[in-house]
Homo-oligomer: 329 residues x 2
């Protein structure tokens, strides 16, 4: 029911994901009537793998998380999370209110023992490969111990998802590469990470290196991560917009644009933020994927596919095992 568009986009995305993934089953949770309106003609093979579960309420996008937690126990996100808690589903994908989704997730799925706060992790496009940034906004006043746990959780996630047996590389976001640089939080976290024998810690990384680096996990405070990811999206959109403006300048450049359209399309596809949609909540005893509120169909499918990856790899359990191993050392 969530996001800027609700059922129209979400149902379409579910159908597309079902047709692409023959072993996927989807449960659509929310207002049955509004969901059914969106399901027009469905392939028989697909329809047997889709079902609807009614939820009488929904959390509004601007609702205060604490209030939703008290008053909306029958909301679509709470009902969906309960399906995971009772093992009727393996993952939740939501494009609803992030704070409320986080609050309900903690309450219904519970935290992994030993983890103080969940974090949000997502892929960022880089020139070399895909790095993941943790935290993207779940925690805005982090202690060094929390940042250290983010590194552990991120590392465990990448290790579990990777097909090869790798030791994921970890870097800490800072404003310089020398150890005298940074705020107190960063310096203290750097000490904790440097002392760890279980993490493949490479040291500091600066803002510009996020998009060139070869690092698997970039750790930062949720405030900084949120600003970074949103500003990056803003820059990418501005640059693409300027390129379009440049081609619209005169009739002659407009003709040129039609000639290079295939190149421009391929370019836009490669820098398209849609394919990086789907941020994971880690630290919980279950898979919860947050899709962007403004996500279109293909971006929503990307979020569903992240859920499939994490559920098939049983990420929450692997993170828990990884943390236990760390405690024993």
């Amino acid at each position: 029911m969530g996001g800027d568009f609700g059922p129209p986009i979400l149902v379409q995305a579910a159908c597309l994901a079902l047709s692409r993934h023959p072993h996927l089953n989807v449960i659509l949770v929310g207002d049955k009537k509004r969901i059914e309106e969106q399901i027009c003609t469905l392939d028989k093979l697909i329809s047997t793998r889709m079902k609807i579960v009614e939820a009488s309420e929904q959390v509004e996008m601007d609702e205060k998380p604490s209030q939703a937690l008290r008053q909306k126990s029958q909301s679509s996100m709470a009902v969906a999370l309960n399906l995971v808690a009772t093992e009727q589903a393996q993952a939740v994908v939501s494009s609803g209110n992030t704070g409320a989704l986080m609050a309900f997730s903690r309450k219904i799925l519970k935290m992994i023992p030993g983890i103080s706060r969940p974090a949000i992790i997502s892929s960022v496009p880089t020139e070399q490969n895909k790095s993941r940034l943790i935290d993207l906004g779940a925690n805005v006043d982090c202690s060094p111990e929390q940042l250290f746990q983010f590194a552990q959780m991120g590392s465990a996630l990448v290790k579990a998802i990777s097909e090869k047996d790798i030791e994921p590389t970890v870097a800490l976001l800072n404003i310089g590469s020398e150890s005298i640089k940074g705020n107190d939080q960063t310096k203290h976290t750097h000490e904790l990470l440097s002392r760890s024998t279980d993490l493949n810690y490479l040291g500091f990384i600066e803002g510009n290196e996020v998009y060139t680096g070869n690092v698997d996990i970039i750790v930062c405070d949720g405030f900084v991560g949120n600003v970074l990811i949103k500003a990056s999206e803003g820059v990418a959109r501005m640059v693409i917009h300027r390129l379009q403006t440049e081609f619209k300048r005169s009739w002659w450049t407009r003709v040129l644009a039609t000639v290079v359209i295939s190149v421009l399309k391929s370019f836009r596809k490669r820098v398209n933020p849609d394919q990086y949609n789907g941020a994971s909540f880690v630290g919980l005893q279950g898979v919860v994927i947050k899709s962007h509120g403004g996500a279109n169909v293909s971006a929503t499918v990307a979020a569903i596919e992240e859920a499939i990856r994490e559920a098939s790899n049983n990420i929450p359990r692997k993170i828990q095992q990884q943390l236990l191993k760390q405690l024993e050392q």
Copy 2:
């Protein structure tokens, strides 16, 4: 003497700035021999407006600021700052060690009374107009009172530089637009800014809005600002790089690239970070402009031009007057 290239780039930039600005005088400070090597043939009109002042030392790019402050009183940046302190010059432009430049600036030029810490401010390219971001890394653990002062200083700077009589708009960088969002620092600063009757405060701004917004001044902690500006640069470079890669894909697209070269050149010129080079240190009793260490000739000229603008407008004095006015209210 500073930056990644030293005299070769800096002397060329000085000559170009002199030819463009007939009322400009330039004093080159540093190793006289190395500077003279770079001055080959100079137009007579230009050479009368250029002079060299010897400095026997220079601060290394990776030198600790506190150490430089103790040991390098004869460094090119210290000597140049003394020329401003003794009114032999109106502004300093340096591409040297940022921390050392800040430390020497505070010691030699002194702070504006009432300002606790200087801040770094610079323009960011936006779709609508040019916004300025303050602080970009001078202060990494800011109190709400400091962030409030950044808003005052930024606002005074824009007011003084603008040709029209405007009340510059101020926004506070946050991870959401509702007042419940953000960390403690942001919430407290928001209260201070909301209470101020002297500032044209608009409220919160999110990361993506930095590049679309119509705001004159965006206030943030130096850690966040530094990450934001560097990440933005990283994204812009990655996007441009991907566009180039797209055109290099096959012989056919390479031919297309030659056809659209004028459009691509114009595009690159418009998104070129060079034109935004030149960050100002504000809160000091003198104009100090920090040019990027990796700046080329045209970027260095942009930094010199920022110095011209601020010196001709007597920005430090105007900021001081503005702050006094505020205190009286």
